[in-house]
């Protein structure tokens, strides 16, 4: 089902079947060109399939934005080991809820994308890893897999092509870290989701130490359209160096939150105003995080002229990320936003790398104390310093994911930190809320430990 009205400004490629009756069924899929791309790919040389994906300019939709065709080409063709296709459906980047919609409304599109990847790299088995909280999606995927086997679209000698493929659904059990590809593979193998040292990359030694193609749900879902209509047609939907569309989640302070399929290169302000219907209660934009909470935040001024694509975001020192757009209005406390984001990363750090484990924990403590009015002037620089010392010093990007938004918020909204100093209450705590209830400290959160402003500097705590 759909949770929001579609927008007329959408370009529906991956979401083209959304809203059709029984859109998740094999019958609907087959009636709407379903599995035709697989049949076409089965008649193509594997190199040709990869070439078509390269031409499409498809880049990984999970957040990293790595060119998909290139990733596939890294799989050693002559390896004697079996090869695997693994779908990353661990969607857990705060602000992101697009894979859920893709799987729920069109699971066969995902299966077809996996099959085509299988043809491209000579893999004959695959796993769809879905986060544990999405139990209903496991059921939808299992039903679709069963239907596909029954219809001859999975299993031995698929549709007489001589190609065999087995596909399985695999549930996670609550761990953001498992969205990182090597941690996901550890989890798939029944272990703690701790990242692996790379190289070797999954293309060479992935699932069960065998060559593996691992992509995000949305990336696989784009593949049938690329093969069906040609890589060039898909590329033309976007802009140079970023082909196609992006499932974009509008979240936060916006009138029409929802998941929308927009062409890459869609203007940010138009997206907020025209797709999202603007910001509620006549408020103004203060900040925007373009692709999930691990991306550096943009100020309203930086959003002017920005477009939703890899290069435009890179030029503004942030990332397109997962497409989880977090819109913050002028009554948002940026200290609180930084604090809540850090609480998340501290909770999710797997503890493997010390800069991440300790950095996120200390930043959480400092930011919580700061927001509660126990901050000192030194803390402001300290927050930035700790975050900068995490960058690039961990095996996986979780440390960076925690540091980047924090650094951007401290740098761009320093005045808000100053406004919290000297025991002053949060200046935004009394802004009217949706339900107009006096704020109080939430139970279960880190409470200020009764430190006076004098002895509560983060440096003292770090040393003590």
């Amino acid at each position: 089902m759909l949770y929001n009205e579609p927008s007329p400004l959408e370009t529906k490629v991956l979401s083209r079947r959304f809203g059709l009756p029984d859109s998740a069924s094999l019958a609907t899929y087959l009636a709407t060109e379903g599995y035709q791309a697989f049949l076409k790919a089965a008649g193509m040389k594997p190199e040709r399939i990869i070439e078509e994906v390269k031409v499409s300019n498809l880049r990984g939709r999970g957040g990293a934005g790595f060119p998909t065709g290139m990733k596939w080409s890294f799989v050693p063709r002559n390896s004697p080991k079996p090869k695997y296709i693994v779908v990353n459906g661990d969607e857990s980047e705060p602000g992101t809820c697009k894979d859920r919609v893709l799987i729920e409304n069109d699971p066969h599109q995902l299966i077809e994308g996996v099959l085509i990847a299988g043809l491209a790299v000579d893999a004959h088995a695959g796993y769809i890893y879905i986060r544990g909280e999405y139990r209903y999606l496991i059921e939808i995927v299992e039903k679709a897999i069963t239907e596909a086997y029954a219809g001859g679209w999975l299993g031995k000698n698929i549709q007489g092509t001589g190609f065999d493929f087995d596909l399985y659904a695999h549930t996670g059990a609550g761990a953001y870290e498992c969205g990182e590809e090597s941690a996901l593979l550890e989890s798939l193998e029944g272990k703690r989701g701790i990242p692996r040292i790379r190289p070797p990359f999954p293309a060479v030694a992935g699932a069960f130490q065998c060559p593996t193609v691992l992509n995000n749900v949305e990336t696989f879902c784009a593949v049938p359209a690329i093969i069906r209509d040609g890589g060039a047609a898909f590329a033309a939907l976007g802009i140079p160096r970023a082909g196609g569309t992006k499932m974009t989640c509008l979240t936060g302070n916006v009138n029409k939150p929802g998941v929308y399929e927009l062409r890459l290169g869609f203007p940010v302000m138009r997206m907020i105003e025209e797709v999202g219907g603007g910001i509620p209660r006549g408020r103004k934009l203060k900040a925007l995080i373009p692709g999930g909470s691990s991306c550096p935040a943009l100020t309203a001024a930086e959003c002017e002229g920005a477009t939703m694509d890899y290069d435009s975001m890179a030029a503004r020192k942030t990332m397109l990320g997962s497409g989880g757009v977090i819109i913050m209005d002028d009554q948002t406390c940026m200290v609180k936003a930084a604090m809540r984001i850090m609480r998340f990363y501290a909770h999710e750090s797997c503890g493997w790398c010390i800069p991440c484990r300790e950095g996120t924990t200390w930043l959480r403590k400092i930011l919580v104390r700061f927001h509660e009015g126990g901050g000192t002037r030194d803390d402001i620089d300290l927050i930035g310093d700790i975050a900068k010392n995490m960058l690039g010093r961990t095996f996986c990007p979780l440390g960076d994911a925690a540091a980047m938004p924090t650094i951007s918020i401290v740098e761009k909204f320093r005045q808000e930190f100053e406004d919290h100093l000297d025991g002053k209450p949060c200046p935004f705590e009394h802004a009217d809320h949706k339900w107009d209830k006096p704020p109080s400290l939430s139970p279960g959160w880190d409470k200020p430990s009764g430190l006076s402003p004098d002895d509560s500097s983060g440096a003292r705590i770090l040393n003590g």
């Binding site: 949770y3 929001n4 079996p82 969607e91 857990s92 705060p94 602000g95 992101t96 809820c97 894979d99 859920r100 796993y127 986060r131 544990g132 909280e133 209903y136 399985y168 695999h170 549930t171 996670g172 059990a173 609550g174 761990a175 953001y176 798939l188 193998e189 029944g190 272990k191 703690r192 989701g193 069960f208 509008l250 979240t251 936060g252 302070n253 939150p257 929802g258 998941v259 995080i289 909470s293 989880g324 977090i326 819109i327 913050m328 209005d329 948002t332 609180k336 936003a337 809540r340 998340f344 999710e348 797997c350 809320h433 949706k434 339900w435 209830k437 704020p439 939430s442 139970p443 279960g444």
Partner: protein
């Protein structure tokens, strides 16, 4: 330890889903599905699953302690999970959380005296565009207001 025939058949399918010698891969799904039936990850359950996938109980325990959805203590019959992460926070998810705590008189990961309802402040559940979001066991509730939450809690009290 005995499980329902449905769970046994799920286990059987899971153990066949991975390459030979890689039965351990079924561990996390087996634990989660078993927890759904048993209520929590008990010592007995750890021992049972360990035997089925060829691990020691301590190896299984090591995995259990990593995943936030796997829990060693039983929670309420209806586990109410409220997201307060950034997209929900911007839609007053934190106020919703406070409201729930006040209403039920319990805190994070606590259970009401009758054992029916437990509460947890959770991280992002992937419902960011329909915030604030609540999950009761595995069912999502979107755009939840305090009034809607009150109705929901009331219905859980009455539900079998």
């Amino acid at each position: 330890m005995t499980f329902s025939p449905q769970l046994e058949s799920r286990f059987e399918t899971l153990l066949k889903s991975y390459p030979p010698g890689r039965e351990r891969s079924a561990l996390v799904p087996m634990l989660l599905y078993a927890q759904d039936e048993v209520g929590s990850i008990t010592d007995e359950l750890i021992e049972e699953i360990a035997g089925r996938v060829g691990l020691t109980p301590s190896q299984v325990n090591e995995v259990v302690s990593y995943y936030s959805m796997l829990r060693r203590k039983p929670l309420g019959k209806y586990h109410v999970q409220i997201c307060t992460n950034i997209s929900c926070l911007l839609n007053d998810g934190d106020k919703l959380w406070e409201h729930a705590c006040e209403k039920l008189g319990i805190g994070n990961k606590e259970v009401t005296a009758d054992g029916r309802i437990s509460l947890e402040e959770v991280e992002c559940m992937g419902a960011c565009s329909w915030a604030p979001a609540v999950q009761v066991n595995y069912d999502f509730q979107h755009f939840v207001t305090p009034e809607k939450l009150d109705e929901l809690l009331e219905s859980l009290r009455k539900k079998a």
